[in-house]
Point group: C2
């Protein structure tokens, strides 16, 4: 059987049960943004790791090495943010083809440092090694979090509000600009920058983790259409999203109009937004949202609600049910 | 400038100073077998990571997937052993080409479990992702060690005995058997097995870590000819090795004679032995070696001694200075 027949999530479902048996109390294994492990009294260790392979995850000719170094670390920091933690140490494995220029690698490290500095994370180890022709980057990040504040994907409850901490679709729009080789004006550059330089929502994650009303949290890496399924599986629930409530930037709206993109498709399935997706108790939502607005100067956007599991993931646009097909959102026939 | 002009160690020397500045007390960063980080009171966390890229580090057609899974984890466990620690948690990133069979991956995971079980290490996270054509394996392992027992590469002192915990060259011999496509008899299979299924010296490492006379320790991954340089750099010393004292297996001796290999070259530079290399205070050596023999039923082999830095790495064979050239060991001219 070919791997393509079962896909990444099928593969994880196939092998992970063997590794999830008899995990000690308080340990979270495969299936969340980070593994959760014991650390000091009252604190937990968070560990996450991400692999980027040239031509599958990035095009060496399209991304500046500094942006690649920055993004490689940022996507891991986003996983720490999703658990409500603070990143501390990073480990880099770099598989390098012989023809890569040292100056390229210097720039990559400058980007890594650019992402590490504001997050106060230190690169303390790794592995540099040969690769036949494609560059491979693997970063692991170790962080910490107060034991009572760990937010997983499994706590969402019926009726919870689904909220996101930032705009959706900018990164997906940036990828379209690149793939469709669009001429780059100010809007296009804004989107490409969102794609190349995601900002992990560490402060937002730590702040939300301290709110007891937040029942589940994860980061938006594959797009909410895919990521909500992860919360639905782990929390055994469904989710209903109102598309016009998705927070969308003006550059994305303008580019979607200009290039004929389905705006909501880009927002829901473009991926790599690296903002946070949270489920919040409806009784707490108003105060959490008001506090978020005060703290961060922008809204915590309510985009839908948690429903019974049998309802699956449903979308509405202007009150009418729609579904995400191959060509974008359309009405049921 | 091409990477090949400065090499892996040149690259590490180039970027690591920026990341070694202002590390907190007790933290060991880039340059040892593992990073050493704070954990509970009186204990330290050890973290190591290793990347294997198809066609650079293994040939998918030559190694059984079960052995690859086993070895991928074992090489990381060996780094934990080298610091005197116990492994606890493992994280796997797997970059998989679309054409790989699911059954191949099942076997890979069986191998991973085979190495994990005796070491009591749990796979608790990772990343499975696409790779265009070559399989990429990155494993990170987190372990722990009592604070006073951390053994680094930097503690070796003049006059210390250099010792190894196992035979050298079997893995290098196994690689030669594969590359030279030798007919596989019992000896050849013994060597290939050493190459494909290294056994991390975890018990030996933990036992040696508890001996105060052990001043420095690392694992033999590139061969002692390369690895001793790492201890020399970090401990600012030289090393003198007596080649006839290197512990060599009978299968390796027989194959070297049969195929015309330079036996000592294979032993000193074949690499991937994954036994441990230790520097031991000469006043303690006799009692440490006797205790090791009682505990493990085989000798701790003294192979040389630590010398002043200006002496560099020197070899003697039957009392005569020799050097390792391109074609093996030869006399100075």
């Amino acid at each position: 059987m070919k791997l393509s027949e079962i896909g990444e999530f099928g593969l994880i479902a196939r092998f992970s049960p063997a590794f999830l048996k008899r995990l000690p109390e308080g340990v979270v294994g495969i299936g969340d943004d980070c593994a959760v492990l014991p650390w000091r009294r009252g604190e937990r260790l968070l560990v996450t790791t991400d692999m980027l392979v040239e031509d599958s995850h990035f095009l060496r000719k399209e991304i500046a090495p500094r942006d690649l170094g920055d993004k490689s670390l940022a996507v891991n920091l986003s996983d720490i943010a999703a658990m409500g933690g603070r990143p501390r140490w990073a480990f880099l494995s770099l598989g390098i083809p012989a023809g890569v220029e040292v100056e390229w690698i210097d720039e990559f490290f400058r980007g890594l440092a650019r992402a590490a500095r504001p997050a106060a994370v230190r690169l303390v180890g790794g592995d540099t090694t040969k690769s036949p022709d494609r560059l491979v980057v693997n970063i692991a990040v170790v962080g910490t979090v107060r034991a009572g504040r760990v937010k997983t994907r499994s706590g969402a409850r019926m009726g919870d509000v689904i909220a996101v901490t930032g705009n959706l679709g900018d990164s997906g729009g940036g990828l379209r600009v690149l793939l469709e080789r669009r001429r780059r004006g100010r809007d296009e550059n804004f989107l490409v920058r969102a794609h190349h330089r995601p900002r992990p929502h560490l402060d937002e994650g730590a702040w939300l983790a301290a709110r007891p009303g937040v029942t589940a949290m994860m980061d938006v890496s594959d797009g909410i259409d895919s990521d909500l399924h992860r919360i639905m599986e782990r929390s055994r629930c469904g989710a209903a999203v109102e598309l016009e409530r998705l927070p969308l930037s003006k550059p994305l709206r303008r580019c979607a109009a200009k290039y004929g993109w389905d705006l909501y498709e880009v927002a829901a399935s473009g991926g790599e937004d690296y903002c946070l997706l949270a489920a919040i108790d409806p009784k707490s939502f108003a105060s959490v949202a008001a506090g978020f607005k005060r703290r961060f100067g922008r809204p915590l956007a309510a985009v839908g609600g948690i429903t019974p599991a049998r309802r699956g993931l449903s979308y509405r646009l202007s009150g009418v049910p729609v579904r995400l097909g191959r060509g974008g959102f359309d009405h049921f026939k």
